[in-house]
């Protein structure tokens, strides 16, 4: 990192230079270290809350009488008709198979909550983000909400989760930043693919 005096104007900012190769071609560009870090944390907090809320609101019946317990059967059986056939068939089967529907009704709210908390606090960030993208994969293609095109919020959510994984976003102001300095993680480097 260096301090740049941009165009001699006396404006100094911390600039990092990234040098690498992308598919065999050299790449070199400068970026602002503070802004890059800021955006990683900013993204993590927003995506984390997105999923924390998605999980919490499915438990709202526990403290708000008018709310109903979460039930995925309506979406599985009737909300996925626009999905590709192979996925629609699977989701209908899941929605009409008692034990699998029960597991789904249990796993989606809890999964969303845990994924959101992991991303929000930067704890097991890569693991949480992987399962966040996994869930969104089914929401994206299952709902097939392509009225405004194939690039919609769910697909962009998958991409955001992928970016959190690539950046190892939990290392910036996150629990993973502390965990990765522990002896256990240093002695078991594979765990960094779950943290980060």
């Amino acid at each position: 990192m260096r301090l740049d005096d941009q165009e001699g104007l006396g404006v100094r900012q911390m600039v990092d230079t990234l040098e690498t190769t992308l598919l065999g071609r050299p790449v070199r560009f400068e970026l602002s270290g503070p802004w890059t870090s800021y955006m990683v944390v900013f993204t993590r907090l927003l995506v984390g809350w997105w999923f924390v809320y998605a999980g919490l609101e499915k438990y709202a019946n526990l403290w708000y009488a008018p709310a109903e317990a979460f039930d995925a059967s309506g979406w599985l059986l009737h909300g996925t008709a626009g999905a590709p056939g192979w996925l629609h068939g699977f989701l209908v089967w899941a929605g009409s198979t008692g034990w699998l529907l029960a597991a789904t009704n249990y796993a989606i709210p809890l999964g969303e909550l845990l994924i959101g908390l992991g991303v929000l606090f930067g704890f097991a960030t890569r693991l949480a983000a992987f399962f966040g993208a996994f869930l969104l994969f089914f929401f994206y293609l299952g709902s097939a909400d392509f009225t405004n095109g194939y690039v919609n919020g769910n697909l962009l959510g998958i991409i955001l989760f992928m970016q959190l994984i690539v950046f190892g976003a939990g290392r910036i102001w996150g629990v993973d930043g502390y965990l990765e300095r522990t002896g256990f993680v240093r002695n078991h480097p594979w765990t960094r693919y779950l943290l980060g």
């Binding site: 040098e19 690498t20 190769t21 590709p84 056939g85 994969f137 194939y150 990765e180 980060g196």
Partner: protein, 102 residues
């Protein structure tokens, strides 16, 4: 910042090219063709009676499946990276260059 130049292996390159390529094919390439060939909307157009009067050139079946395959490549790649790191721990730090920082 440190130089983070790293050499990717064939699996990494495959994930980048095939995974990203399929997602871009399903969204951007077929989306562009879909826009200018026939019905420009990604979903079938219905009349007031609910009958389909125009279908997209590339159905959800085609575009959705292509995108799904691309995302599946990325998912499998992530799983591969984890298990490769378990089998060969020494590859983690050198291959990624993302040592923990404050």
């Amino acid at each position: 910042m440190s130089n983070t130049d790293t050499e990717l292996g064939p699996v990494d390159t495959f994930a980048m090219v095939v995974g990203g390529g399929l997602v871009l094919l399903g969204t951007v390439v077929l989306g562009l063709l879909d826009t200018f060939i026939g019905n420009p909307y990604p979903l079938p157009v219905l009349n007031e009676a609910g009958e389909v009067v125009a279908s997209p050139t590339f159905s959800v079946e085609i575009r959705g499946t292509i995108i799904a395959l691309g995302l599946a490549v990325f998912a499998l790649y992530a799983v591969y990276k984890l298990f490769a790191a378990i089998v060969s721990p020494e590859t983690v730090a050198t291959a990624e260059g993302d040592v923990p920082t404050r």
